[in-house]
Symmetry: D2
Subunit: 343 residues, 4 copies
């Protein structure tokens, strides 16, 4: 059994790691830390875990993580940076769900996250944990930076088009929408049910922190610089991300459906839907699957890609476990085989 | 035009007062105070009011209320107590939407609200603003204590039965449920969309602050002490209260439908539904109407009363305006005539 | 008082006309027809109207509309076509909320709506009821074709850019999303709460019936042919449309905020939001206002316009009443002055 | 591997059986029937199952069920009656999720379900599949009648009180509320998102079909006749049942918390919550667990029991699988071990 630790287990990605690891056949969660909730049983905060874990939050300073084989960071950005070096020095693998090691250009990171980076020397070593692109490097990594929720959906959706060089890379549009769990389990007026329910809005239209991450990923895939407009929106629901992607085809002869099916045929967690169908976020609720449809409306020169994922699973904790599975040589879908909850 | 002021206008009952007063033909809102938002336009915080009010929050200390004919308190409990005496001394009428003056027994208030009462000398003078019971006293009041949201629904529902002496007053049950706007516009984890949506729970089962208020009201109506079990629940929606009331009939010969219709025939804001129909909260969304149905399941000795209201309107701001209309001799439904928003 | 009739009053646009006309100072609803519900009180079907209308559905064949000054059609497409000529012959004005008279090219209409048009001779006379574009023609019309819900939001959002000739008209993108009330009050599995709630999806990506209507409207404004990609989505909520519009600027020197404010300064129902703000659909819930924000992300050559409206008000019944007000020389905002319901 | 068949797989209990059986280690689904969808892949109707089942709906007449060890009926009432005898004759076990064999008094069944019973001779043999009450009989059954969703929650909640003889059995109240998935996957206006969302109502107050089933179960437990008032309500959400139960204590000295904990200590799917806590339906979303809290408000003579379950799992398909596990000597929690999906 792999011994796993979780830092910052009081947020949604933390409880989601626990929910998924509860049925993972090869992993035992041996520690979960929280400064604020130290001593409190996790099932007290998250009653859905009653009977599944006999575990209490421990103080991060108490060395509880030292016996772990792997530690997940489910923390706000800025936290992992200072703790990761010590863990790596002890031979512990680190899978970071936060933004700390996602962007290779440290100055760019510091500009968007508005703080100095505490561990720039590890940024270059960190592997960007998008298995569909970096599976081989993930296998050999010590430190994995899990992609953000929006970036996962946008990169997977554009992937076949960019690899095949079929679209104008200077004019990509990602119109994305997320359920409010993406904003985390922090008390805030804006995501109260009475504010965010029965309503819809864009936010961050002038610039969102996921923009540089997505651009870096798309440029890695395309092998050239790209122009991207990214507008996120807030959905009146709990889980799920939907990205509607627009690009202009430079080659209109290609069979897009065939292209997507071929590219993702061997991917365990990317499902290309039948031609003409529209993926719904609920069809991936609670599962690690990303579903994709591709359209060419009215037979014109625009390609429209529809992508859905569960922001807390493929967009965060599920993808982190997928990375762990790869890293430790387990079946890639270990612990991730339950179908989505529908209805 | 009546000049109205609002204290504490940044919460839901504050914006609801503004929404309703925007179309009131006889009232001009001349001041709205907020310590935290002083100087900020109200339409900046509440964009639905853009174009309707050219008004900014003012500091409560600045004397902005001195020119008012009437001042509404849309504040948390404990605030009105200290400000009301000064306003009354200036001849300004006060309509308090908070709990400060609802309970005549000051010691009981202090026990449930866990603080000393700052103005016990006015508690006796305050009129409990339930027009269906106290219309005449409201007409002559200086200080009106508006009923709580749950208490309005429970008292109106039991009213005909208690007045007619038809049920066992020692065993009344009120099973109530409210949308999350009842919890106010405060940042809190428990009412985040991601926590409170797509879920349902009871709360305060051991004892809720509205219990002594409801009991006092029912005892006033019944003219005797009553036994009440009150269990509130949190609904995954924004607005609306539904109370399901249970009592045991001491007289099984009475025509309950006829009793309710007769009692409320002249009430502008209580609608007795046709026999056999079930009121839905959405049929009163945004309106000051309370709808009631009465059942005797299987012809047994239990009477079941179903009551719906909009917690922010008949349960708070609308009832406050109804009280104001009575107080100033206006038509009781002035400004309150728009139908509910359905769907 | 203007005497108004409604054909097909059992759907959402029908009950919404009634809700709004209930507080209109100059209109009396004298007939509402429904073949299926003839004889049934409207307040039986829509309890929010109890106490507001003493009106029953009447059979459309019974001549109930003959005394009307104006008749609204709140029917599915294909119904108004056969009845309108008879009403016009009697001197009755017609405001059609359906798609029957929106598209000037009859062959194009027949292709998208998949049926022969029963009244092609009136298509040319019908005035497209978008007051912000056609106010003068509306004033003189006999037959007004109210715009669709999506088309209203997309046309208003692109209007200033196209009139000023500032964008590449060959590449316009409208990414829109609607609450499920847009699908009407028909029993269907796809819009059950258990199917459509807590989920999000695109639909009609290959081609939606509003596409030709929007394109016609944009071409009228631009004075040239346009290229448009339009992708609608289904929101897990009741009311509200949000359109996110993308275009490429041909002139990057223009002050977009100033352009929009100037264009809509005198429009009673278009509100240009302060720079940097994001409109929420709930800020127009139940109101006839359309709110717009304009962005140029990262200072690049893309302009992004955010538009919200209530699909049942400015997107349907409210705009129909706005048209009626213009047609009969009433204040344009008569009966349409209530602020949106928030929260 | 146990070979399982499903009759009527196009509804919510059908897809839920598939979702749960997809991860059951000892069961293979070999047939799923639907007259209307014969030939269509199940993953076409339920895309959450893509990649999990390579199975199409088959015609019920085609003998597809003959090789099964067990057949689940996920059909409306009235269907199982006519097919069950043939299956039993072939030695196939039957687990019926419908109401057909729940009520022992055939005349009573016929009265509430308003049709003649097609198979009264098997009613007496059928075992009522509430494992917490009938585990031994379930083990030896050929035909299991799974309890209804409301009845499961009400019986489990009252169970310890009735077994211990602690309450007045003549005056039991069950105030229950269910998400709309309980109404099934049928097109109907009343459960459209635009009708049932953001609203709450009681229904069936005059009498609901689950009333005789609950009363029979409570009487079996109590060993005497009981008086029950049962009022169901419709929640604006997808999954989850919450029952708030009221009874009058005849013995006020008992430690209720201890009573409940002792009674359910060995039950794998009943979780007694810590004293003072309120169970939320979301803590059982997608899981077979039922959580219960017990209160004695204000120390009076009323006991209030709060019960939550997922209506599609412990209230239907999960309980059916629990029954199957018992019937076939498998671990009772096989395939039912995943924690609830929260948030």
């Amino acid at each position: 059994m792999i011994k796993a630790g979780i830092v910052g287990g009081t947020g949604y990605t933390g409880v989601e790691l626990l929910r998924l690891l509860a049925v993972h056949p090869e992993v035992e969660v041996c520690a979960i830390t929280s400064r604020g909730e130290a001593g409190r049983p996790v099932s007290d905060l998250f009653p859905n875990l009653r009977g599944h874990f006999d575990l209490s939050f421990s103080d991060p300073a108490a060395g509880a993580l030292d016996d772990c084989d792997v530690v997940f960071f489910a923390t706000p950005h800025g936290v992992a940076q200072s703790t990761v070096p010590g863990l790596l020095a002890k031979g512990i693998k680190v899978i970071d769900l936060s933004a700390d090691f996602r962007i290779r250009d440290v100055a760019l990171w510091e500009q968007w996250y508005n703080q100095p980076h505490a561990c720039p020397e590890l940024v270059g070593e960190a592997v960007y944990g998008l298995p569909e692109v970096n599976r081989d490097q993930i296998r050999r990594a010590r430190l994995i930076a899990c992609p953000g929720c929006y970036p996962t959906s946008v990169q997977l959706g554009f992937l076949p088009l960019l690899e095949a060089g079929l679209v104008d890379v200077g004019d990509l549009i990602a119109n994305s929408a997320s359920g409010t769990s993406g904003a985390g389990r922090q008390a805030s007026v804006g995501t109260l049910l009475a504010e965010a329910s029965d309503s819809f809005k864009a936010y961050g239209a002038a610039g969102h922190r996921h923009l540089p991450e997505i651009r870096q990923g798309l440029e890695d895939i395309a092998g050239t610089s790209v122009g991207l407009t990214f507008i996120p929106h807030l959905l009146p629901m709990i889980r799920g991300i939907h990205s509607t992607l627009y690009a202009t085809l430079s080659d209109k002869t290609v069979d897009l459906q065939q292209l997507y099916e071929a590219r993702f045929r061997d991917e365990p967690f990317v499902d290309v839907m039948p031609a003409g169908s529209h993926p719904e976020t609920r069809t991936v609720r609670g599962s690690n699957t990303c579903r994709i449809s591709v359209f060419r409306p009215q037979g014109g020169d625009k390609v429209v890609v529809l992508v859905v994922e569960d922001n807390l699973v493929k967009g965060a904790s599920g993808q982190a476990i997928q990375n762990m599975n790869i890293l430790f040589g387990l079946p890639e879908n270990a612990g991730l085989m339950a179908p989505a909850l529908l209805p």
